[in-house]
Symmetry: C2
Subunit: 227 residues, 2 copies
């Protein structure tokens, strides 16, 4: 069976994505980035999920860009807003946007996939219940696929590494449904932008998650501060 790289943050979406890649029969290599995110505990979640879902290998890449990145997700001086940020600028992109994050993640995934001979890269971008990040849209994915097609050896040899985005048009409630059906260890996932002991329940990521569980009629097994 052929190999797929799965970008695994440790959140609900990427854990579900991983289970979907396994269901399709791929040999899965999980890839996680330690890029200076405040919610470092998602890395522990990623490790536990990778183990429980029995991936072939889990690669964690240290990317020392934290202090170079302007984002409330990485900079102590910028607070993570409750809900969607009010300071979104002309394009309505929240302060939690990490500049070019998915471009960086996909580029390193492409490099590793091509080195290993992996045929697919799974990325759990979602353009329905999301924070409005431009690097989560089908337009971006198509553009990056084109860069792979023309800019890599695999592309020039007529077998370009293919990006797979099975979550892109799903609602969060549909993702919750898939997670339940595929027996994803939801209790191990971490979505909250704040790295506290319990999920804050207030940041945009918590809002989206809670709305998804409510709409799916499923109880979220993780603990929230307000509980």
């Amino acid at each position: 069976m052929s190999e797929a790289i799965v970008l695994l943050s440790g959140g609900l979406d990427s854990a579900t994505l991983l289970a979907m890649a396994k269901e399709k029969g791929y040999d899965v290599v999980a890839l996680t980035f330690d890029y200076g995110q405040k919610h470092k505990r998602e890395l522990d979640s990623a490790r536990k999920i990778a183990k429980q879902l029995k991936v072939n290998e889990h690669i964690v890449i240290p990317l020392d860009l934290g202090k170079l990145l302007r984002s409330s997700l990485t900079q102590k001086s910028l607070a993570i807003p409750d809900g969607r940020s009010e300071e979104d600028g002309p394009a309505g992109i929240p302060s939690t946007y990490v500049p070019a994050r998915n471009i960086v993640f996909l580029s390193i995934a492409t490099s590793i996939a091509e080195s290993r001979g992996a045929e697919r890269i799974f990325i759990g971008v979602n353009a329905v219940d999301f924070s409005g990040y431009p690097d989560c849209t089908p337009y971006f994915i198509a553009a990056f696929q084109r860069a792979i097609n023309v800019g890599t050896k695999s592309g020039k040899e007529g077998r370009p590494i293919r990006l797979e985005t099975p979550l892109i048009h799903l609602s969060k409630a549909q993702i919750v449904g898939k997670a339940v059906r595929l027996e994803v260890p939801i209790e191990l996932t971490w979505s909250c932008y704040r790295g506290g002991k319990k999920a804050c329940g207030k940041c945009d990521s918590c809002h989206l998650r809670l709305k998804g569980f409510a709409q799916a009629g499923v109880k979220d097994p993780i603990e929230y501060e307000a509980d």
Copy 2:
């Protein structure tokens, strides 16, 4: 004046590129990657060139991908070939190709540029006297520019970071001519894929460099093993 990120490897092309960016009046931030290349001494060259050409800042990013990358430029078990490799595969890409290297470099440059508010990224790709790498072509640059346009905040706000590739259609001899005119410290540059005390004079990078100097009628000031 606005800021530009210049990808600086320490070779002749990127040193000339840096001088061109300065000539155009940009505030230059040099960006260099320590990615496990065998010719680590190019990093020393990059540092000396950045200092001599008085950049505003020089950022060196440690990228611990060396053992994950399949390339004769990074793996001890793969020898760097003399001249163009004979084991090129169906698309004629040499073993010195580092999978998706420029995709990775440009993605991190984009992330840093967007975080700092830099408007331009200069990359010294050349599609004339080059080793046939797919990530050095105008097709790849156009595809990556599109990914920036649709996939970043700067793009969504109508002021996408622009890639600048002033060397792309120049011959190596023309690049040598520009380096001389702009008083680039050519003696500090390092192009050889092998990281020896002197340049080997035999690898494809040395071949291209020596041919360029010969055609330009300029003596290359660095030392070669055969000298």
